[in-house]
C-alpha cells in the first residue's frame, strides 16, 4: 500500500516530471522558435537598413554628381562670357556680390545678374571715360580760342 502509494506518487512524480520536462521542452522549443523569429526579424531589419543606406549613398552620389554637373555648367556659362573663374570671382566681388561655398546653388539668374551689373559698370566706366574725353576736347578748344582772341586785333591790322 505504501509501496503502492510510493508507486503512485512516483508515478505522479514521474508524470509531473514528464509534464515538467515536456513543459520545459515546449518552453525551450517555443523559445528557440521565438529566437529564430527574432533573428529573422533582425536580419530583415539589417537587410533593410543596408538597403536604405545604399539608397542613401546612391542618392548622395547622384546629388553630388548633379552638383558637379551644375558647377561645371555654371563655370561653363561663366567662361562663355569670356571670363576665367578667377576673373569672374573678381568681377562678382567688384559689384558687391558673393559666391557661396556651394557654387551649385547659383543658377543662370545669378550670371544674368552679374552680366547686367557688369554691363552697367562697363557702361558707367565708358560714360565716365567719354565724359572726361569730352571735357578735355571742349576745354582745350575753348582754351585755344580764348588765347586766340588776344591775337585777333593783330590779324585785323595785318
Amino acid at each position: 500500500k505504501e509501496h503502492e502509494d510510493i508507486l503512485k506518487r512516483r508515478e505522479v512524480i514521474d508524470q509531473r516530471k514528464e509534464a515538467a520536462e515536456n513543459a520545459a521542452a515546449n518552453l525551450q522549443k517555443e523559445e528557440s522558435r521565438l529566437r529564430a523569429l527574432r533573428d529573422r526579424h533582425r536580419e530583415e531589419a539589417e537587410q533593410l537598413r543596408l538597403e536604405e543606406e545604399k539608397k542613401k549613398r546612391d542618392l548622395e552620389r547622384q546629388e553630388k554628381e548633379r552638383e558637379r554637373i551644375l558647377v561645371t555648367e555654371f563655370w561653363k556659362q561663366v567662361t562663355s562670357m569670356g571670363l576665367t573663374e578667377a576673373e569672374f570671382r573678381v568681377q562678382v566681388k567688384d559689384i558687391g556680390l558673393e559666391i557661396p561655398e556651394n557654387v551649385s546653388t547659383l543658377d543662370s539668374n545669378f550670371i544674368r545678374k552679374v552680366k547686367i551689373a557688369m554691363m552697367e559698370k562697363e557702361k558707367k566706366e565708358t560714360n565716365e571715360k567719354l565724359r572726361v574725353t569730352s571735357k578735355r576736347i571742349d576745354h582745350l578748344e575753348r582754351a585755344y580760342r580764348k588765347e586766340e582772341l588776344e591775337l585777333l586785333p593783330q590779324d585785323f591790322e595785318a
Binding site: I137, D138, H139, R145, E148
Partner: protein, 704 residues
C-alpha cells in the same frame, strides 16, 4: 561826286521800307512806278528845282508830274540820289526804263531807271541789283574786320540755316536756341555756301554771285555771271570759279563782262579785286551738249582744282590732257597743256609747302592722275611734280574699271581706289593702292577687298581710314522692289611701330550686314561717324572712337588704334551730316531738297548724345561756318595744353554760372506765369461767383 559814289549810295537803300510804303499800292499795280537812280544829291532847298528838271526829262516818254515824284531825303538833309516816279500807265513806265536808263544828265550823272516791280523782284535785300548802275564791281574799301565772328567772347561757332525763303546766320548755343546774328529773306536764289576759311557767305542769283561778310553782313563783292549754277573757291579764298549750264550770250552793257565771255560757261574771278581773270567754254563735247539734260554726263565739279597754296589751278580735258594755270595771270604753265593720252582724272596733293620750302627753288607741287588701259598700254596711276612736270612715280594696274584718287589731308598718303573686274568681266572687286609720299622712293602697298568699295575716307591729319564695301545685289523681293545690297564697314589702322614711318595698314575690324553708305570723319580725326543717309531703309548714325581710352581687344593689340563704338542714334530722313569746325558737335539734317518728311536738323555731341532737335518747315540747308587755321603758334598751343587744368577750372566755373543763371531765368519765368494765371483765375472766379449770386445760383461746383 562820281558814279562810284552813287553806286555806294544806292547800296544804302533799305528796301524793306520801300516795300512797306508801297505794299498797299502793290495790289493796285506797281507797274506804273519806276525808280530813277543816279541823280545828284541836293539839299532840301534845291529839291524842287531838281524835281522839276527831272520831270522834264521824264516826260519825254510818258505822262508824269511833279506830284508823282517822290524823292526821299537822307538824315544828312540831302536827297539820296534817287527818286520814285509814277507814270500814268505801265506802258509809259516801261518806255521810261527802255529809253531813259543810261541817259547822261551831265558828265557825272547817268540815270539808272528801273521798274519798281523789278526792284521788288531783284532788289530785295540780298537779291542782286546788278541792273542798277556801275559797269564793274569795284574793290571794296570797308575797314570792317572780316573775321569779327572769331571775336565772340565765348568762342562759339556760327552756322547758316536756310529755311523757306530765309537765310540766317546764328551762333551755336548747343542745347539752347541758336543766337541769330542776321536773317534775310530772299538772300539767295538757290543755295548759300561758305568760303573755305569762313570769311564770306556766297549767295547765288540769276545775275551772278555775291559775297557777304563782316559784322554788318554787307555785300563784299559781286561777280556777274548770268544764270550761275555752281561756285567753287580756291583753298585760300583768293579765287572763285563760277559755272552756268547756259553759255553766256554777250550783250552790250552787261556789267562786268566783255564780248570775250560770249559762249563761255566757266569764269575764274579774283575774289579780292572782283576782277574777272579768265573765262572758259564748256568742256563737254558737242554731242554731249545736244543730249537732253538728264541724259548728259554729270558735270564734273569742281572742274578747276587748286593747289593748297592757290598758286596753280588745273583742269582735265578727259581723254587728252591736263591744263595747269598759274595764278593770278591764269596763263597756261609753259603756254601749253600737258598731253596725257586717255587721262580720266587727277587730284592735287593737299599738302601746302611751308614758307621754308617755298623759298627753295625746287619747291614743287604734286598731282596724281590716272589713265585707263589703251591698246597695249596698261592702266596706270602716276604722280607728277609741278611746275617741272616730272613724273616721279608710276604704277601699272590691270583689269581696271575705274579709279578714285584719295589724298590724305596733309598729302602724306595717297590711296588709289581701283575698281577691278575679273578677266571675264563678270565679278568686280576693289584694290586699294597706297603710296607713302613722305617716305623714300614713295613705297607702295596694296590691300585687296573682295567686294566693291563704295566709299573710302582717310582720317583727317591721320593715317587711319574707313571704307564701305557693298556685296552682291540681292534679288528683288516678291513685291518687285529692288533690294539694296547690304554693306560692310571696315576700319583700318597702321601697325604699331616703335619709330620711323607708320607700319603696314591692317584691318582693325569689319562690321557687316549694314546699310551704311556714308563716312564722316571729325575734322580733327579720332572720331568718325558711319551713317546711312538718303535711304528709305535706315537712318542710323554710328559714332566711332578710334582712340578709345579703355581696354583694348587682344586681337588688335599691335594696331595703332583702339576702336570702340561709342554711340548709335537714328535720325529719320537724314540727308546730310556735318561736323562743326572743332569736332565737338555734329549736325545731321533732313533737307526738303531731298524729301519733305520731318525736315529740320538735329545736333549731337561727338559721342552721339542729342543736344538739340529742331523740326523746321521747308528747311533746306544747314552749314557750319568754317574757321581759318589757328593763329596760335605750335609753342603757344603747347603752353595751353600744359596749363589745361587751369583753363578747365575756369571753364567749369563759367559753365556752372551759366547753367544756374539759365535755370534761374527759366524758374523765374515760370513763377511769373504761374502768378499771372492764378491772379487771373481768382479774379475770374470772383466775378463768376458774383454773377451766379446775382442769377440766384449757388457758387460754381457747390451743387456737386
Amino acid at each position: 561826286m562820281t558814279a562810284d559814289d552813287f553806286y555806294d549810295s544806292d547800296e544804302e537803300i533799305d528796301f524793306s521800307d520801300l516795300r512797306e510804303q508801297y505794299e498797299v499800292k502793290l495790289e493796285e499795280g506797281l507797274d506804273t512806278f519806276v525808280v530813277v537812280d543816279g541823280l545828284p544829291k541836293v539839299p532840301e532847298d534845291n529839291k524842287p528845282k531838281l524835281v522839276k528838271f527831272l520831270v522834264k526829262k521824264l516826260q519825254g516818254v510818258g505822262k508824269t508830274k511833279e506830284d508823282s515824284v517822290y524823292m526821299p531825303m537822307g538824315d544828312d538833309g540831302q536827297s539820296q540820289g534817287f527818286a520814285f516816279v509814277e507814270y500814268e500807265t505801265s506802258m509809259q513806265a516801261a518806255q521810261a526804263v527802255k529809253k531813259l536808263n543810261g541817259l547822261a544828265l551831265d558828265k557825272k550823272h547817268v540815270l539808272a531807271v528801273n521798274k519798281l516791280t523789278d526792284i521788288e523782284r531783284y532788289g530785295r535785300e540780298g537779291r542782286i541789283d546788278e541792273k542798277y548802275t556801275e559797269p564793274e564791281p569795284e574793290p571794296f574799301v570797308e575797314q570792317e574786320h572780316l573775321r569779327s565772328w572769331l571775336a565772340d567772347p565765348r568762342g562759339r561757332d556760327q552756322f547758316i540755316l536756310f529755311r523757306a525763303d530765309t537765310v540766317g546766320v546764328y551762333f551755336n548755343n548747343k542745347k539752347e536756341a541758336p543766337e541769330m546774328t542776321v536773317e534775310r529773306q530772299f538772300w539767295t536764289e538757290s543755295f548759300v555756301r561758305w568760303s573755305p576759311l569762313g570769311t564770306y557767305l556766297t549767295s547765288l542769283h540769276p545775275q551772278g554771285v555775291q559775297l557777304w561778310g563782316g559784322a554788318s553782313w554787307k555785300r563784299m563783292a559781286r561777280f556777274p555771271h548770268p544764270a550761275v549754277n555752281l561756285v567753287d573757291f580756291s583753298p585760300n579764298e583768293n579765287y572763285l570759279v563760277t559755272w552756268s549750264n547756259k553759255p553766256i550770250v554777250y550783250q552790250e552793257g552787261m556789267p562786268g563782262i566783255t564780248a570775250e565771255e560770249d559762249g563761255k560757261t566757266y569764269i575764274v574771278w579774283d575774289v579780292k579785286t572782283g576782277k574777272l581773270l579768265r573765262s572758259f567754254p564748256p568742256i563737254e563735247s558737242p554731242q554731249e551738249a545736244d543730249k537732253p539734260p538728264n541724259m548728259r554726263k554729270k558735270i564734273q565739279w569742281p572742274l578747276f582744282k587748286w593747289t593748297a597754296d592757290d598758286k596753280f589751278c588745273a583742269r582735265v580735258t578727259p581723254g587728252s590732257s591736263i591744263s595747269v594755270y598759274e595764278t593770278p595771270s591764269m596763263v597756261l604753265l609753259d603756254k601749253k597743256s600737258i598731253k596725257l593720252e586717255g587721262v580720266v582724272d587727277f587730284e592735287w596733293s593737299p599738302y601746302s609747302p611751308t614758307d621754308e620750302e617755298l623759298k627753295k627753288p625746287a619747291s614743287e607741287q604734286l598731282l596724281c592722275y590716272w589713265t585707263p588701259e589703251l591698246g597695249n598700254q596698261t592702266a596706270r596711276v602716276s604722280l607728277m611734280a609741278i611746275p617741272s612736270k616730272e613724273i616721279i612715280r608710276t604704277r601699272n594696274l590691270f583689269n581696271v574699271s575705274d579709279c578714285k584718287l584719295h589724298w590724305q589731308s596733309e598729302g602724306a598718303y595717297l590711296c588709289v581706289k581701283v575698281d577691278r573686274h575679273s578677266k571675264r568681266g563678270k565679278s568686280t572687286f576693289t584694290n586699294l593702292e597706297f603710296f607713302r609720299i613722305k617716305e623714300k622712293n614713295i613705297p607702295n602697298e596694296t590691300i585687296e577687298v573682295q567686294d566693291t568699295v563704295i566709299n573710302f575716307a582717310w582720317e583727317p591729319k591721320g593715317n587711319r581710314f574707313v571704307l564701305i564695301a557693298a556685296g552682291e545685289l540681292p534679288p528683288a523681293n516678291a513685291a518687285g522692289v529692288a533690294a539694296v545690297p547690304k554693306t560692310a564697314v571696315s576700319f583700318y589702322a597702321p601697325e604699331k611701330v616703335k619709330s620711323g614711318p607708320a607700319g603696314q595698314f591692317r584691318l582693325i575690324r569689319t562690321v557687316d550686314k549694314k546699310n551704311s553708305n556714308a563716312i564722316f570723319w571729325s575734322p580733327n580725326g579720332h572720331f568718325c561717324i558711319v551713317a546711312t543717309i538718303n535711304s528709305q531703309q535706315s537712318n542710323e548714325l554710328e559714332f566711332w572712337d578710334f582712340d578709345f581710352d579703355g581696354e583694348k581687344r587682344e586681337s588688335e593689340k599691335d594696331l595703332a588704334a583702339n576702336l570702340s563704338l561709342i554711340g548709335t542714334v537714328e535720325h529719320y530722313g537724314v540727308t546730310d551730316v556735318e561736323w562743326d569746325p572743332s569736332g565737338r558737335y555734329v549736325v545731321s539734317s533732313s533737307s526738303m531738297w531731298k524729301h519733305t518728311m520731318e525736315n529740320g536738323y538735329h545736333m549731337w555731341d561727338f559721342k552721339g548724345v542729342s543736344l538739340r532737335e529742331d523740326h523746321i518747315e521747308r528747311f533746306k540747308q544747314f552749314a557750319w561756318r568754317p574757321r581759318p587755321p589757328t593763329m596760335l603758334s605750335k609753342e603757344q598751343q603747347k603752353q595751353i595744353r600744359k596749363n589745361l587744368r587751369e583753363y578747365s577750372r575756369q571753364f567749369d566755373e563759367e559753365d556752372l554760372i551759366m547753367e544756374s543763371e539759365a535755370s534761374a531765368i527759366v524758374i523765374e519765368a515760370r513763377r511769373r506765369l504761374l502768378e499771372e494765371w492764378r491772379a487771373w483765375r481768382s479774379r475770374i472766379e470772383r466775378d463768376l461767383a458774383e454773377e451766379r449770386e446775382d442769377a440766384g445760383l449757388p457758387p460754381f461746383g457747390a451743387d456737386e
